[in-house]
């Protein structure tokens, strides 16, 4: 018994506004992208015949294919860095920090930047990375370099440097959750069963956090693949990845090409999520 009767019409009525809203704002637009990507012919209109022309044109282009690979490579690198870093931080916060006061402080210090604008945080890197930037000034002042190092701004390195702080929290959060769920008695039981701490981690702790690791990786994957803002801010006009291509096409009035790239992005993301779900489920059934 509660303030809402199970299965009652009231439940349907309450759910209706959100349903309509999400259909209109998300489902229909995404469906539209898929439909537009198949529009053949010369004119841009709903009456266009459906064809695979746009796709053929895209996949025939070697530059674009290289861009896809580059994007995937970059995303994989970010997943690795954020994953390892995120796990170390999660382990430290949950297992190694004893006093709850310190844990809260560190946790807040970790999470608060997440609440400030991502755009501002991306912009904040620009004074650091440029030829006259803070990093170069420090290097010159400390005598570690004779002339300004150029690789920071307008480069993959710079983009990576700016993205790591943005996405490590996403890799870390699910791991924190799973680590917190492990009762301390499990570690102790393993130790009384003659397992040394490294073995305890490898055979007991890590396998139990694996779902968190996978979810974290998926979150990083999805966000890095779609992050055009950081690429644009730090990379300027020199570097572009797949999401930027969508915008370039859109601003160049090549809507159908933009739709193709968008669909490609969507497929990559769906494939990633599906693969992750497969891994997590298998882990749950498989032996340790």
């Amino acid at each position: 018994m509660s303030s809402i009767r199970p299965g009652s019409p009231a439940a349907y009525w309450l759910a209706l506004p959100a349903t309509l809203w999400m259909m209109a704002a998300v489902v229909v637009p995404v469906g539209m992208i898929v439909w537009v990507s198949f529009w053949g012919g010369r004119a841009f209109s709903p009456e266009s015949p459906l064809s695979l022309d746009n796709y053929q044109r895209f996949f025939a282009n070697r530059t674009y294919m290289a861009l896809v690979l580059e994007t995937l490579r970059h995303t994989a690198t970010m997943m690795l860095i954020c994953g390892v870093l995120g796990y170390c931080i999660a382990y430290f916060l949950v297992v190694k920090v004893r006093s709850p006061a310190w844990r809260t402080v560190l946790f807040l210090a970790f999470v608060i930047p997440f609440w400030t604008s991502a755009l501002i945080r991306a912009i904040a890197w620009v004074p650091f990375l440029g030829v006259n930037g803070v990093i170069n000034q420090a290097l010159l002042a400390l005598g570690l370099a004779d002339e300004p190092v150029e690789i920071f701004l307008y480069s993959r390195t710079g983009i990576s440097l700016a993205q790591v702080p943005l996405y490590t929290l996403m890799a870390s959060g699910p791991v924190v959750y799973m680590l917190a769920q492990i009762p301390p008695a499990l570690r102790e039981a393993a130790m009384t069963l003659k397992a040394e701490p490294v073995t305890v981690f490898r055979r007991v702790i890590f396998p139990l956090t694996l779902p968190g690791v996978v979810i974290g990786q998926v979150l990083v994957f999805l966000n890095v693949m779609a992050d055009f803002a950081t690429v644009q801010t730090i990379g300027g006009n020199k570097i572009a990845l797949l999401p930027n291509l969508v915008i370039n096409f859109y601003e160049g009035a090549q809507i159908r090409a933009a739709a193709v790239v968008a669909v490609l992005l969507m497929l990559c993301m769906l494939a990633g999520v599906a693969a992750a779900l497969r891994v997590v489920d298998v882990r749950r059934l498989g032996a340790a």
């Binding site: 009767r5 009231a10 998300v26 170390c88 430290f92 608060i112 604008s117 779609a226 933009a258 969507m266």
Partner: protein
């Protein structure tokens, strides 16, 4: 049985003692991980702090060090609108849009979470439908929505189309927050109210809402802050009258000036204050409830 073989092998292992004993190794691990964590925190905070510092540079200061004096010059520049870049209207729009988003998110989140409690047929699908808002990236949603508008001949504007898409992004967060709160909510409290003669609506209004207020405030907070900072979705759906993040990006495209640092610093401080205010409100609520 106690034939001693297990014990003997245990002894053999003890003979090859490692260099550091287990306590030292545990401490070493803690130090390594700790340094990594603190290092990362510095790495995370340093750009924001530097940006805030640089926002106070003198009139002749550039976008990097040296600062050439300390002044509020750039803040004043920000305030006195110049022809080139006037940030006040975009700021106003962002603010209003965020408020509208907050209120709408709150209402929809509460309604949707309450609906979920009703376990209607298809509530699983409903859950994933709302979660789509988080999973679908802003780039795709924004682009798609712009396409729809173009084909249907609808004009994009900050207070109509952008509002629609913003809520689709903030709603899942508020929804999850309300679900989490409802999970910990004891339905027996409502039952008690119903047996005392309250109608379902009254029970919800007088008993449930005050208790789940933290979730309600949370959804307001999500709605406001996520909409205020939203860039990708705004880019496609605001039309000519742009919001603050778009204005910042536009300026960045033209030229990086310390005014942007001033905006950055001001925005960060505002966000921080808003979060702290809400945290205190929640903390105060919880204390009041406990008494």
């Amino acid at each position: 049985m106690m034939d001693g073989t297990t014990y003997a092998s245990g002894r053999a292992r003890a003979a090859r003692r490692p260099l550091l004993d287990h306590r030292a190794r545990s401490r070493l691990t803690a130090w390594v991980l700790g340094t990594l964590t603190v290092g990362f925190l510095l790495y995370q905070w340093l750009p924001i702090l530097t940006l805030s510092l640089l926002s106070f540079s003198g009139p002749t200061g550039g976008t990097t060090f040296p600062m050439n004096g300390v002044s509020l010059h750039w803040y004043r520049e920000l305030w006195d609108a110049s022809i080139m870049n006037d940030f006040k209207p975009p700021l106003g729009r962002s603010f209003l849009l965020a408020i509208a988003c907050a209120v709408t998110t709150c209402l929809l989140s509460v309604a949707s979470a309450q609906a979920m409690r009703g376990r209607f047929r298809g509530h699983g699908l409903f859950f994933y439908l709302i979660l789509l808002g988080i999973m679908a990236p802003g780039l795709l949603v924004g682009f798609g929505f712009a396409l729809v508008c173009r084909i249907l001949g609808i004009e994009t504007a900050w207070n109509t189309t952008a509002f629609l898409v913003h809520v689709s992004w903030t709603l899942p967060f508020g929804f999850l927050a309300m679900l989490a709160i409802f999970n910990r909510f004891d339905p027996k409290l409502e039952e008690a109210a119903l047996t005392l003669g309250a109608s379902r609506w009254t029970a919800f209004r007088r008993i449930t809402l005050p208790i789940v207020l933290p979730g309600v405030i949370g959804s307001l907070l999500f709605g406001f802050s996520l909409s205020y900072d939203e860039f990708a979705r705004s880019m496609f759906t605001t039309g000519a009258d742009i919001t603050l993040p778009l204005a910042v990006m536009a300026q960045l495209d033209r030229q990086l000036t310390p005014e942007l640092y001033a905006i950055g610093a001001a925005t960060t401080v505002t966000s921080l204050l808003a979060i702290l205010a809400c945290t205190f409100a929640l903390w105060g609520l919880r204390r009041a409830q406990r008494r």
